[in-house]
Symmetry: C3
Subunit: 398 residues, 3 copies
């Protein structure tokens, strides 16, 4: 076997992640440091094998169920790519084509679609207090189904974005950072600014900023969360960030100044989101069926947003970062000034300069998802990688 692959395998041998087997992936902060590192390592190994034309197809048959409660391009394709890479066929659960509206319970549906499912990927980020809970309901249902002999295997859940976290996005972001900085060991003391930015659209999910502070505080970095007054994220996630920062000898601070956050930053992640309190209110209005209230709230929020058009990632601000060359991140698509809107999250020249790294950032997501599945499905992932390398089946024959 070649040295690179041996390196990944040896790294996996040093990590403890046994409990990922037959488990699920909800929130990054529910995982240990070793488990998080195992995901990065397997993602790198799978990508490396693909570049070496080594097939990583571990399933001859099996389904990967996807359930998107919001439109999606990149996450949909990332999930499809990840499943395909491992040999699973994607089957969308399109709730409009299904009979779920006929009064079927989550418990029932979850079992009915899982007879041959090895993975379920869910995106449900629209309502506070709902998405993550729904994922747990699904997992509870299939866990029971497996225990009761209804299912021959328990499909693993991959959280493709919930109201709390967006683990596949943030771990892809992080793996990109690790590659850009030449290893996780180089991140100690680096400053990363997760900042709010203005967007003319309304109600962007909180899961990205929450996911970022919930993950990136684990690596000894100085994590700054910046937003205008009133744009707070979930307090529970801030608590997580604080604790993790302390444990990793990094820091977690908050500010209402974008300039302060950018000053000297090694990494910046300027992105719009909706205030947590407003999202909570919206969820309640929705629960009450008060659509007039929702409309009114939307108008109010757009007006509130408009007061902060100065929160934009400008060339001027970028100059104030470390050597004027901070790594610019975005989960895409971004609201780009003069391109997708008049005023947005970022100036076009900044975005253009970082286009290649931004696309690379996105390119890690399929591998992160595949790694999550792999770690949940393989009893001895290091061994399986070894066996795949020995099997040496070409991904592309000829």
């Amino acid at each position: 076997m070649d040295a690179t692959l041996t390196g990944y395998i040896e790294k996996l041998h040093r990590l403890h992640f046994k409990e990922m087997y037959e488990n699920d992936f909800f929130l990054t902060w529910e995982k240990t440091d070793d488990e998080i590192e195992a995901v990065f390592t397997v993602a790198d190994a799978l990508r490396y094998m693909r570049t070496q034309n080594i097939s990583t197809k571990v399933f001859e048959s099996g389904l990967g169920i996807s359930l998107f409660r919001d439109n999606s391009t990149r996450t949909r394709f990332s999930f499809a790519s990840a499943c395909n890479l491992l040999g699973l066929e994607v089957q969308d659960l399109d709730e409009k084509k299904s009979q779920i509206a006929h009064g079927e319970t989550v418990r029932e549906t979850a079992n009915m679609i899982s007879f041959m499912a090895d993975v379920i990927g869910i995106r449900d980020d629209m309502y506070i207090g709902k998405g993550n809970k729904y994922m747990h309901d699904v997992v509870d249902a299939v866990t029971e189904g497996f225990r009761d002999g209804v299912l021959e295997q328990k499909p693993t859940l991959v959280n493709l974005q919930c109201d709390i976290d967006h683990p596949t996005q943030c771990m892809a972001d992080m793996l990109h950072i690790i590659h850009e900085f030449g290893g996780v060991e180089n991140l100690k003391g680096k400053k990363i600014a997760m900042t709010w930015a203005y967007s003319p659209s309304y109600g962007k999910p909180l899961s990205v900023p929450q996911g970022v502070i919930g993950l990136m505080t684990r690596f000894g970095m100085d994590v700054v969360l910046a937003h205008p007054e009133g744009y707070d994220v979930m307090p529970e996630v801030e608590e997580v960030a604080k604790k993790q920062a302390a444990a990793s000898s990094g820091s977690f601070t908050k500010t209402n100044s974008m300039a302060g956050a950018f000053a000297g930053a090694d990494i910046v992640y300027p992105k719009s989101w909706a205030p947590f309190a407003a999202m909570e209110k919206r969820t309640n209005l929705y629960g009450e069926g008060d659509f007039e209230g929702i409309d009114a709230l939307e108008k109010e929020l757009l007006k509130q947003n408009a007061a902060h058009k100065d929160w934009c990632c400008t060339e001027e601000l970028m100059k104030t970062t470390k050597d004027g060359k901070a790594l610019y991140l975005h989960c895409l698509p971004a609201d780009i000034n003069g391109v997708s809107c008049e005023d947005g999250e970022v100036e076009a020249s900044v975005f253009d300069r970082y286009r290649v790294p931004l696309y690379k950032q996105a390119s890690f997501k399929p591998y992160i998802i595949a790694a999550m599945i792999f770690l949940a499905k393989e009893k001895d992932p290091a061994k399986t990688i070894e066996l795949l390398a020995e099997r040496a089946k070409e991904r592309h024959f000829g």
Copy 2:
């Protein structure tokens, strides 16, 4: 090879089912007893191999076309699972995305989608006299296409529910019964009650009750069909049931009393359906484009239904069954009192007590579908199972 698999293979050797090869599956009563038993046997064998991690992928490439003219979750996923288990990729024929409306004939479409299709699964249960006929039109078209050298193979048709029968559902139900009762030989003299039940919704297909009496009268059971006056099913299917009951030394009786049907029953299947005569009328109104007439009919039927709210599977009724412990069946989703509706087909406590067996009942459907495909596509199914066991390719590697 292990004893279990050898058992299935030996059983297949004792059965005569040659004519299933390159044939189609429309109605269960068009198949011989041996052919029906071959489906059960292959379904069990495929399931067993899957639990033993033996890949049953017999196709390296090939498509399974699905055509659903009604929304569906479980049948859609069952078909997808079955195809995937055998190595076929599902391709939906979504009539909205297609050009069929441009005046294309069934004959033409059937050929155009079948150049690499090994299976076509169709669900078309909405109009009396249409669904089964449509399936025959498709089969006639691809049979000609194959004969004329247009197609390199004749795809096999799997009836995923028509106006007459729902063979994949009823055979899954039956295989569930066989497993619950420890073998088909234990069913002689058992009483099964296929009874109407109240639902607040309108126009549920007749294919389940028809499929049940058309299949379960073959095994020497006492099959009772119960419904309020005016909720008759197709008379032709009742004729089939009568003949089969006689031939199998069982019985087929009808009653307008739910209590009478439940009394002493070993198995109960309470489920709503629409009266055959009304469905026929609806089909004619639809043919005439009389949508006002359809609306009026719907109101009339809902009113008629509402007169029979007492047709509910209650705890009280369940107590009157054999030892108070009849096996409760439903094709799901059920209308559950106080859960999906105020008054429905079944009391919540009954449904809850049978949840695990109900889910198991559903779990047989993918294997029944896979078995139907397998028997149509493999020249010597017993031999292929043997070869698959020898090949011993893992479904899940690692």
Copy 3:
């Protein structure tokens, strides 16, 4: 290896088509004669291997992305079949389910969906000057993405119909002709009539007549383009046709007489299309958002069409063709008199007599698409075919 396959391999050895590797397929006239012949040869070889139950699956994993901006049955299924035959899983980019409307650029989307894509198939034929350009934008984007290390492979583009050409259709048509006439060497001096025909519908794409004259003028045939005055196709494509006809010692002529075109023809292809000038006008109106203008144009065009109901492929006209037995072609679905419309492109008895050859004509499309992919993805296609034959993996096991 058997003689037939050896024949194909030897033929490939005689052809020069190196530049197809890692390239794309936009327009047939951008390809050399050898490249066109390589597509036909590989298509025949893939089809032959399939009939011999030899798997041609060269990909263990990988996605084939399809993007249809217009409804489609046969092209959709042909693309799906082609991908499946080679081992790629189809993933639809449904623009309604995606976030593209959020202001994402083509460049971004193209990369985001391509991380594991080996092929992208696009159908975009609605607006003059747009479809082909869009395909180039996509290819430029993924070429850059591959160069910049964003993508691990450059997906190959297959033009599934644009505003200019419909290469997969016309090459399938041509391969059908070659088979019907017993070889490309028998086509010299044969007369083919690509003629307009009346249809009650409006705005049928120009890509078929353009594709036909842009391809079929390469084989020494006498190609006649016939249409009523005012139904011209793109002048650039006529130029291509003229040059190619001259180079192949054939001819390219135009006429406003359907009878003239049919007289003595060996092959006839009567089909409706919209005038190029009108389509251009429509594109401009669309660009200006002038929907009233579009409606007015549509009415005007339908009226104009109605003046040419005599442009129909009648039995009478067919009698005037070579021995009264010209090969009748259509890309399907056709507008058939008294079947899909009152007056249309062809009389029912003519269509019926040619039904089998018409279906065969269509049957080549999946193989043409597969051949285009194969030639773009295999470094040494002849060698790969040899290796596949040696590997001798069964497509259908058992």
